[in-house]
Symmetry: C5
Subunit: 164 residues, 5 copies
């Protein structure tokens, strides 16, 4: 029985972060967490690009266009959707999640979901570098692990080549 | 680390607005907000087209046919779904959101979600030029930002050309 | 700025109605409303075809096969899903709505959603020719408006031809 | 105005039943209902095949592989998902319903939804040959009606041939 | 009437397990259950590969890349999503379920859903080798049954060959 894992070494990777501006006080902390994690795991600064979009509904659109470039090993989507008075939250958060999953599916690329979906601003603060971690950071670490795992999987197919 | 953003300069863009007639007292205010925002951000009047559809369920169908024309840089969908006595609201609003996301996905074009999904008429009024903003305006601004961002992304691929 | 709308003139259209038999006392009133609206808006009787299916879950399947014929300008789906004791309602109504949206998406054709999704029989009666209108009628009017709108959109692409 | 309906004559049809083993005391009654209905409506025994799968989540997978054979005129999916202590019910029932709808969509074949989705075992018993009918039986009758309807629709396209 | 079933003999199969690290105290028990079941049903150890991913949202991405290899007869996805204070649970669990279903759909391969989706840690413990079974084990058994069933179905198509 073989066990295959990705690594947390981002030194060979090129990564895009897509971040939404809505609830910017929160999302700039998510971005900071993602960038900090990228650096800690060795992603070179000149291989890390950040793209701002207006809101969470727009995350999939930018992620897809970036995936089309075939330039990045992974795409991190980060943003914050906070429930308001109306059910709008459910449709925006639901479609953001679905669209991010589909971007990964359609381009066969790790596209990670660093989107806070919370009932209150306090919950969003706690998940953007507060008491409950930082979803931007988590999504960057997940992206690095997935990008390196998928290279391991490709290596299974052609064992003559070392995984890149 | 590069940071790439769209701009709010719509002067080089051609934009379609699809607006649904159901709850027309609300949706004409959403349309007015979208048009006003387009003008403020420099979209020329002769490059702004408005298309009326019956209800929110029909927004994706018109958006897709417009995307097929390959004439517009972005499509703004605006409408208002207000919860009634039955769960019909959930299916119409859910499918409108999904259909609008899929139109953007399938045509690789910004298709923005300026649809109010509210529990009451008062909430819809507040979000169509009242105390909580104007979802039509927001969707237009998001469309301009996304259209200009996607041009920036295309420019990454071929840095010899200036972004259009 | 141009404003483009469909018309309510169905005289040049060929339309299919798919109606589900489940809750037939309701759905025959929905069908009657749809047919009445078609006639009021000039759809010739020999260009209006009605197809019965067992339940709302089957509406998309028939709509898709009809769309494949490339014979109809629009397809009206009508039916009634009423909540019972179990959550079965949510899955049937949800998939009917999704399937009808996808039929329109995949065949680039107006496929309208004249399906009552209600908590009680009384709510269904009110929406099938009672106090709250007739969802079959509304779906027919929406189909006519969308079919004529899509012809207007095609005409934008090739302004030499008059819209059919 | 033409009205087109399927028939309940299954004598010319070849039908597959996919049944899930989870909650087998219920699902064997659903299967019995489906088989009984097939016989009552003239489906020959040697044209009726039954396929067991572990649970409702697996129904779409088997239905799709069977559809690929291009051997059956319709596929009946039957099973029982009963709510437990956790929200697992929602994901399994939701994906079963979606997967069954998509199997019909992707293979342009009637794939009917004879799946009980209930809050209690008692509700499931009532819908598997008890006081509220038998969902397996209903799904078989729906499959027969849809298979014969789709043949009628094909005949519209080529009126020289009698519907098979 | 023929009745076709898979078997629980995994001796001819090659199976991948994808397991998510989030809630690792739970998921290592799910993995252990899956591996134990594989051995009990004869899957040779050198035909059983285990792949770790960060969280449940990443399960579909790895499953798809593994399916692309055309090396495995089935893929078992296992993980644990436990509801927290926010609605994040719904989006992650919902997309994991949808993505796993779609992986099976798009690659025509059994991809089973061994993911706990629970309201509490206690419920997750009970379903990972406690009082309510082990979802990892169940998903492995389902994968073996589905892989052998699909071979039976292929054999229907070409009865000259014995099912592998």
């Amino acid at each position: 029985m073989r066990t295959i894992e990705g690594s947390l070494d981002g030194s060979g990777l090129r990564i895009a972060v897509v971040v939404s501006r809505f609830n910017e006080l929160i999302t700039e902390r998510l971005l900071a967490g993602a960038v900090e994690a990228a650096r800690e795991h060795g992603v070179p600064d000149d291989r890390l690009d950040v793209f701002w979009v207006p809101g969470a509904f727009e995350l999939p659109s930018a992620a897809r266009r970036l995936a089309l470039l075939a330039r990045y090993d992974a795409i991190v989507c980060t943003g914050a959707v906070i429930r308001g008075e109306t059910p709008h939250f459910d449709f925006v958060a639901g479609e953001a999640a679905r669209g991010i999953m589909d971007a990964g599916r359609d381009f066969d690329l790790p596209v990670t979901f660093g989107v806070i979906t919370s009932n209150t601003v306090e919950q969003a603060q706690a998940r953007s570098g507060g008491a409950v971690g930082n979803k931007g950071r988590e999504a960057m670490v997940a992206a690095i692990e997935m990008a390196t795992l998928l290279k391991q999987i490709d290596y299974l197919e052609d064992p003559r080549e070392e995984p890149r």
